[in-house]
C-alpha cells in the first residue's frame, strides 16, 4: 500500500546505506569520529588526518582556539567572521564571502545573536521560532558552530530538513557563506547521496536520515548539537525523532537540542520539552490583505482561474501564486490560464503572462523555471509582464519564491490519510487548516505588501477549517515506523512519548501486520527476520518479500520489482496521447498482471537496444526516464544491502516454465495481506479479511478472469480501486502464509468457502500421493 513512501519522503535510506557501506567496508562504522575507537587503526590513519591537521593551531586561524566552549559572545564570533582568515580552515577569505557576510548581518536573526547564545549556553533544549525570511535555517547552525566548536571535539552539528531538496540547497548556500567547499566542512546527507567528509562539522540532512542513523547509534554519539528545523511541519520522521531525542537528552547531558519552527504556535513544543525556553525572531514580512468570496464557490478550479485572470488584468505589478491539489489539475489549469491570457494580451487588456506548474514529481530542471524573472512588457512602456505559478502545497512552506505579491487560495490540498480499520492509505483532496491558510497568505508578503484571495467565505474559514493540519503520524501506516522503533530499542510502544500519539488501533494494526510478516513474534519482540527487514529502507512487506525471494529462486527479479514499486509511476499517459500510450504499454503487457508487466519494462529498459539512447527509448515508449533511472539507482542501493546481508542473488532461467510463477509466489510472501477475490463473475473484487468491495484500477493490464489477485495499493477515490495487481493461485496463499490464511478464523462467506474447497483439494492430492 505504501510502498513508495519510504523512498519518496524518507530520504534517509540508501544514502545512509552508502555511507554505512563505506564504513563497514573499511571495518569502520564511523568515518568522522574517534568515538568508535578507530583512531588507533593504522589503516585508517588517513581518515583522521584532517582532524589532526585542524587541531594544529599554526595551520588554521588560531582565533577559535581562544574561544571557550559554550562561553562565547556574538562580538567575538563577529570578529572571527571578519577574517581575514577563515576561522575554520585558515585560508584567506574571498571577496564573495565579505559581500555575503554584509547581507547576512542584515538578517533579522543577527539582531538577537547574543540573546540566542545566552539561551543556548544555559539550556540543553531550546525552542527557536523564526518566521520565513528570518534566516534561521542558514544562520542558527553557524551561530552554533562558533560556540559549540564541534570540530575541536570530534563531533558534528546536525540540522534536519523535512525535504531532500531543502537539505541540499541550504547546505550549498551555507558552504558559500562560510567560504568552504560543499561536502568539506559543510555537507549534506540525503537519500542516495552523502556529501560529507571526515572534516564535516555541519551536516544538513533529512529527518528520516537522522532517524536511520539512530537505529545504529542509539545515542547519536557523533553529534554535539542537533537542530530539528521546520518542526512545525510535523513530518513522521521529525515527530519520531522528537520522541527519541526527548529520551536521548536524558542519557546524554552533553547533547544540545534546538527545535526550530516557523509558526508562532511553538508553545506546544515548549510544553512537550519540559518547558524549554523559547526565543522568537520576527520574520521580514509585509502585511498581506486578505479577501474572501461573498459566497461559497461551486467550482473552485473555475473560480481560481477567473481570479488569476482578473488579477492579471486589473492588479498592479507582481507575481501570482495559485495553490491547487495535484499534477493533473495543475497542468490543466496552466493550459487554461495560458489560453485565456492569450486572448487578454491580444486585446491588449493585459501584459504578457508566463505560467509555470510546480509539483513534486516535476523534473528538477522544470522546477527551477519558477525562479525565472517575470517577462518584460511586450513593448516599451507597455503593461508590465507577470509570472504565475500554479503549485501544490510544496510552495506553502518549503520553497520560497521571491516576487510573489498575489496568492490565490482555493483552500484544498492533497493529504495522505490512513485508516487502520480498512487498511487504506491514500492521498485525498481535503480542506486545508487555518494554519495552512495563514501560511499560504504569508507567501504574498515576502517582497512587499501583498494580497491573498481566499476562494471561500470568511464564515467558512472560521467554522469549517480545522486549526492545525493533522501531523503525519496520525495519517500514516506505522508498520515501518514500529519496526524502526523496535530496532531503536524502544520496547514499550504504548507509552512512547509522542507529541501527538496516534489512535491505538493504528499501532494495533501495525503490530499485527508485522506479526503476520514474522518480523515480530507473538510477544512483540523483534525476530531475526524483523531485524533483517529493518536494515532495508523499505515498507516491511517489500522488505520481507525481498529477503525471502532467494527461496523462490528469483531474488534478482524481486530486487528489480521492489525498486520499481519504490519509485513514482513508470508509465506515462499524456492526456493528448492516451491511445498511443496504451498501445505502447500493451507491448510490455504480461497477461498475469501489472507487476510482471513492470518487470518486462525494466528488462527492456536495461536491454541493449534501449540503452543506446535510453532517454529517446523511454520517450518513444511512453515511459518515465526519470522514474526508471531512479529505480535503477534504488536497485543498486538495495543490492548492496542484500550483498552485505549475504542474501543470495539468483534467477530462475527465463526459459523455465516456472520463471514467472516463482516471481508470483515471492510476491505472495510479502503481499499476502493485500489479496482480493473476485465476486462471482462480476467485475467487483472483495479484499480478504477486510471484506471491502473494490474494482481493478482501469490502468491494469490484467485480464478480467483472474479469481485471486495480490495488489500493491488500495486507492480511495469516489470508488474503491486496487492498483497494480497480479493474479495468484489460492493454493499459494495457503502454502506460503498459513498463519494468515488460517481458515477457521475467517468470517463465514464466499472467501472462506472458496479457501475451504482449495484446502480440501490439496488434502485429497496429498492423500493420493501417499497412496501411490
Amino acid at each position: 500500500m505504501a510502498a513508495k513512501r519510504e523512498f519518496d519522503t524518507d530520504d534517509t535510506t540508501s544514502a545512509k546505506r552508502v555511507k554505512m557501506e563505506n564504513g563497514n567496508g573499511n571495518g569502520n562504522g564511523n568515518g568522522n569520529g574517534n568515538g568508535n575507537g578507530n583512531g588507533n587503526n593504522p589503516y585508517l590513519a588517513h581518515w583522521n588526518d584532517d582532524a589532526q591537521v585542524k587541531k594544529d593551531p599554526s595551520n588554521s586561524a588560531d582565533i577559535l582556539y581562544k574561544f571557550k566552549r559554550h562561553a562565547t559572545t556574538a562580538q567575538a564570533a563577529k570578529a572571527a567572521e571578519d577574517g581575514p582568515l577563515n576561522p575554520f580552515t585558515g585560508t584567506t577569505l574571498s571577496k564573495n564571502y565579505m559581500a555575503i557576510l554584509k547581507k547576512r548581518r542584515d538578517l533579522p536573526v543577527h539582531q538577537q545573536r547574543d540573546e540566542f547564545l545566552k539561551l543556548y549556553q544555559e539550556n540543553q533544549i531550546l525552542v527557536f521560532v523564526g518566521e520565513t525570511g528570518s534566516g534561521k535555517t542558514t544562520q542558527i547552525p553557524q551561530f552554533v558552530l562558533f560556540d559549540d566548536l564541534p570540530h575541536l571535539n570530534g563531533k558534528m552539528v546536525a540540522c534536519t530538513q523535512p525535504r531532500r531538496v531543502a537539505a541540499m540547497s541550504v547546505a550549498q548556500r551555507v558552504a558559500e557563506e562560510m567560504d568552504v567547499e560543499l561536502g568539506a566542512e559543510v555537507g549534506y546527507s540525503i537519500r542516495f547521496e552523502d556529501k560529507t567528509s571526515p572534516s564535516t562539522m555541519l551536516k544538513y540532512m533529512t529527518d528520516g536520515m537522522l532517524l536511520r542513523e539512530a537505529m545504529h547509534d542509539n545515542n547519536l554519539a557523533r553529534y554535539s548539537t542537533i537542530i530539528l528545523d521546520e518542526a512545525h511541519e510535523r513530518t513522521l520522521a521529525t515527530d519520531i525523532l522528537m520522541g527519541l531525542l526527548k529520551e536521548v537528552v536524558l542519557r546524554r547531558k552533553d547533547l544540545k537540542l534546538i527545535i526550530m519552527s516557523a509558526t508562532l504556535d511553538a508553545t506546544k513544543f515548549q510544553k512537550y520539552f519540559h518547558n524549554a525556553p523559547l526565543l522568537a525572531v520576527p520574520g521580514r514580512t509585509h502585511p498581506v490583505e486578505i479577501f474572501y468570496t461573498p459566497s461559497p464557490e461551486r467550482d473552485y478550479v473555475e473560480a481560481a482561474l477567473r481570479t488569476v485572470l482578473q488579477i492579471h488584468a486589473t492588479e498592479a505589478e507582481g507575481d501570482i501564486l495559485l495553490f491547487l491539489t495535484g499534477e493533473e489539475e495543475i497542468e490543466d489549469a496552466c493550459r487554461k490560464i495560458n489560453l485565456e491570457a492569450q486572448d487578454l494580451i491580444r486585446e491588449d487588456a493585459a501584459g504578457p503572462l508566463v505560467v509555470y506548474p510546480l509539483y513534486g514529481t516535476l523534473p528538477p530542471a522544470q522546477q527551477q523555471k519558477i525562479f525565472n524573472p517575470a517577462p518584460p512588457p511586450s513593448k516599451k512602456g507597455g503593461r508590465p509582464g507577470r509570472k504565475c505559478i500554479v503549485s501544490t502545497n510544496i510552495a506553502e512552506t518549503s520553497l520560497t519564491i521571491d516576487g510573489i505579491v498575489y496568492v490565490v487560495d482555493p483552500g484544498f490540498s492533497k493529504q495522505k490519510v490512513y485508516n487502520p480499520r480498512i487498511r487504506v492509505e491514500s492521498l485525498l483532496v481535503s480542506p486545508i487548516s487555518k494554519a495552512s491558510a495563514q501560511q499560504r497568505a504569508g507567501r504574498a508578503g515576502r517582497t512587499r505588501p501583498g494580497k491573498c484571495f481566499r476562494l471561500y467565505t470568511e464564515h467558512a474559514f472560521k467554522k469549517e477549517l480545522i486549526e492545525q493540519t493533522y501531523p503525519e503520524v496520525l495519517r500514516s501506516n506505522l508498520a515501518s515506523t514500529v519496526l524502526e522503533l523496535k530496532k531503536l530499542g524502544v520496547d514499550d510502544l504504548v507509552h512512547f512519548d509522542l507529541m501527538d500519539p496516534p489512535a491505538p488501533e493504528t499501532l494495533m494494526r501495525a503490530l499485527e501486520e508485522l506479526n503476520y510478516l514474522a518480523c515480530l513474534d507473538d510477544e512483540g519482540e523483534l525476530t531475526t527476520l524483523g531485524t533483517l527487514a529493518s536494515q532495508f529502507p523499505l515498507d516491511p512487506a517489500l522488505a520481507v518479500m525481498l529477503i525471502v525471494s532467494p527461496e523462490f529462486y528469483c531474488s534478482n527479479e524481486i530486487l528489480s520489482l521492489t525498486a520499481l514499486l519504490s519509485v513514482p509511476q513508470i508509465f506515462v499517459r499524456p492526456a493528448a496521447n492516451r491511445k498511443r500510450a496504451d498501445e505502447m504499454k500493451e507491448l510490455f503487457a504480461h497477461p498475469q498482471g501489472d507487476h510482471l508487466t513492470m518487470l518486462n519494462v525494466y528488462h527492456a529498459f536495461k536491454g541493449e537496444a534501449a540503452q543506446e539512447n535510453p532517454k529517446q527509448w523511454c520517450h518513444d515508449h511512453f515511459l518515465s526516464y526519470r522514474a526508471l533511472q531512479q529505480a535503477d539507482n534504488v536497485r543498486m542501493q538495495l543490492k548492496r544491502i542484500m550483498e552485505r546481508e549475504e542474501l543470495e542473488l539468483m534467477s530462475t532461467p527465463f526459459d523455465n516454465k516456472k520463471y514467472y510463477e516463482n516471481i508470483q509466489r515471492a510476491l505472495v510472501s510479502g503481499f499476502f495481506m493485500q489479496v482480493a477475490k473476485r465476486e462471482g463473475n462480476g467485475k467487483t473484487y472483495t479484499t480478504v479479511k477486510d471484506e471491502q468491495s473494490v474494482l481493478l484500477h482501469p490502468s491494469t493490464v490484467l485480464a478480467q478472469d483472474s479469481e485471486w489477485v495480490v495488489y500493491n495499493e488500495f486507492v480511495l477515490t469516489t470508488k474503491n480501486y486496487i492498483r497494480t495487481v497480479t493474479s495468484v493461485k489460492p493454493e499459494w496463499l495457503l502454502d506460503i502464509a498459513p498463519n494468515y490464511y488460517d481458515i477457521p478464523s475467517f468470517k463465514k462467506g464466499e472467501i472462506k468457502s472458496a479457501l475451504q474447497r482449495v484446502a480440501t483439494k490439496i488434502a485429497r492430492k496429498e492423500a493420493e500421493k501417499v497412496k501411490r
Binding site: 461559497p296 507509552h495 462480476g682
Partner: protein, 310 residues
C-alpha cells in the same frame, strides 16, 4: 442438575410443537423460489448499485473498531494497554482514527455546508408551511362543522321549546278547561320563557309602531276627521285600542329576569340538553322520535341526543 436434560422441563417458555415457518413447499413452489433466487443472484448489479454497496460496506467498516482479538492488542496489553486507553503521555491523544472524508467534484469550501444549510432552511420552511396549511384547513372545516352544529342545535332548541310550550299549553288547557288565565312571564317555565318573551317583545314593537302611526294620524286633521267616524270595532282592528289586554306582560318586560338571563347565558347545546330532558321527563316526549311514549322508561327511544338516533 445432571438429569435435567432427560426430564421434561415443563416450565420452559418455548413450545416444542410450535408451528415453524411453512416447511412444506411443493416442487413447483420450490422450483419457482429457486429460479427467483437464481435470477436475483445472477442479475448484474448496475454500476451505481455496486458503488453504493461498496461505499456502504466501507462506511460500516470505518465505523467498526478493531476487536480485542487482534494480535496487536495482545502485544499492547503486555504493556498495560486496556480498551479505551490512549497511547503515549499526552492528554489530548487521539482515541479514534481520523475520519476519512471523500470529496466529490470541485465544489469549494463551504458549498456542502451551505447546501445543507439551504436544504435545512427549505425543509424547515416547507414544514412550517405545511403545518400552517394543515392547521388552517383543519380550522376551517372545524369551524364549519361547529357552526353547522350550533345552527342545528339552535333549530332543535327552537323546535323543542315550541313543542314544550305547546305541550304545556295543552296541559294547562286540559287543566283549566279553556279558561284563560292571566299569565305572568315568570310563571312560564324558564326553558321556553324566552319564546314568550320574544313574542311579547315582538308584540310590543308592533304596538309601538301602530301607536306611532295612530298618533301621527290623529294629529293630521283629515285623518282625525275620519277617526271620528270609526267605530270601536274598527278601532280595535286598527289597533287603536284604548286599553290593551297585555298590560301586565308588557310591564314585566321592564323587569329584571335573572333566572332567564342565567338560562340564556348557557351554551345552546346545554339549553337544548336541558329542554330535551325536561320533555322526556315531563311528557315522555322525544323530539327526535317525534313521539309521546307510553311507559316511563320510554322503551324504544334510543336516547336523549340526536346522535343516539342516527
Amino acid at each position: 442438575m445432571a438429569d435435567s436434560d432427560s426430564e421434561d422441563d415443563y416450565m420452559k417458555m418455548t413450545f416444542d410443537d410450535a408451528p415453524k415457518d411453512p416447511q412444506h413447499e411443493t416442487s413447483l413452489q420450490r422450483a419457482a423460489r429457486k429460479r427467483k433466487e437464481g435470477e436475483a443472484r445472477s442479475r448484474q448489479k448496475s454500476k451505481a448499485e455496486c458503488e453504493a454497496e461498496a461505499e456502504l460496506v466501507r462506511e460500516a467498516s470505518l465505523a467498526t473498531a478493531l476487536p480485542e482479538t487482534n494480535k496487536g492488542f495482545k502485544m499492547m496489553a503486555k504493556f498495560g494497554f486496556k480498551q479505551g486507553d490512549t497511547l503515549g503521555k499526552s492528554e489530548t491523544a487521539q482515541k479514534e482514527p481520523i475520519q476519512i472524508e471523500i470529496k466529490e467534484g470541485r465544489a469549494g469550501i463551504g458549498v456542502e455546508s451551505e447546501k445543507k444549510r439551504k436544504y435545512q432552511e427549505m425543509w424547515d420552511q416547507a414544514r412550517r408551511e405545511a403545518k400552517r396549511a394543515k392547521e388552517e384547513e383543519g380550522n376551517f372545516f372545524e369551524e364549519r362543522r361547529q357552526q353547522q352544529k350550533e345552527r342545528k342545535a339552535e333549530r332543535d332548541l327552537d323546535n323543542a321549546q315550541r313543542t314544550a310550550e305547546r305541550l304545556a299549553e295543552k296541559e294547562a288547557e286540559a287543566e283549566n278547561n279553556g279558561g284563560a288565565k292571566e299569565q305572568h312571564l315568570t310563571d312560564i317555565n324558564v326553558l321556553w320563557r324566552s319564546r314568550a318573551r320574544h313574542q311579547i317583545e315582538h308584540e310590543h314593537d308592533r304596538r309601538l309602531k301602530n301607536e306611532l302611526t295612530n298618533s301621527l294620524a290623529s294629529r293630521l286633521p283629515t285623518l282625525a276627521q275620519e277617526d271620528n267616524e270609526n267605530d270601536n270595532d274598527s278601532k280595535t282592528a286598527l289597533g287603536h285600542d284604548v286599553t290593551p289586554f297585555y298590560s301586565t306582560l308588557e310591564n314585566e318586560l321592564e323587569d329584571e329576569d335573572p333566572e332567564l338571563a342565567e338560562f340564556e347565558a348557557l351554551p345552546v347545546s346545554e339549553r337544548l340538553q336541558k329542554i330535551l330532558t325536561f320533555l322526556r321527563e315531563t311528557y315522555k316526549y322525544c323530539l327526535y322520535c317525534g313521539h309521546v311514549y307510553e311507559g316511563a322508561t320510554m322503551e324504544g327511544c334510543p336516547g336523549v341526543t340526536e346522535e343516539d338516533h342516527d
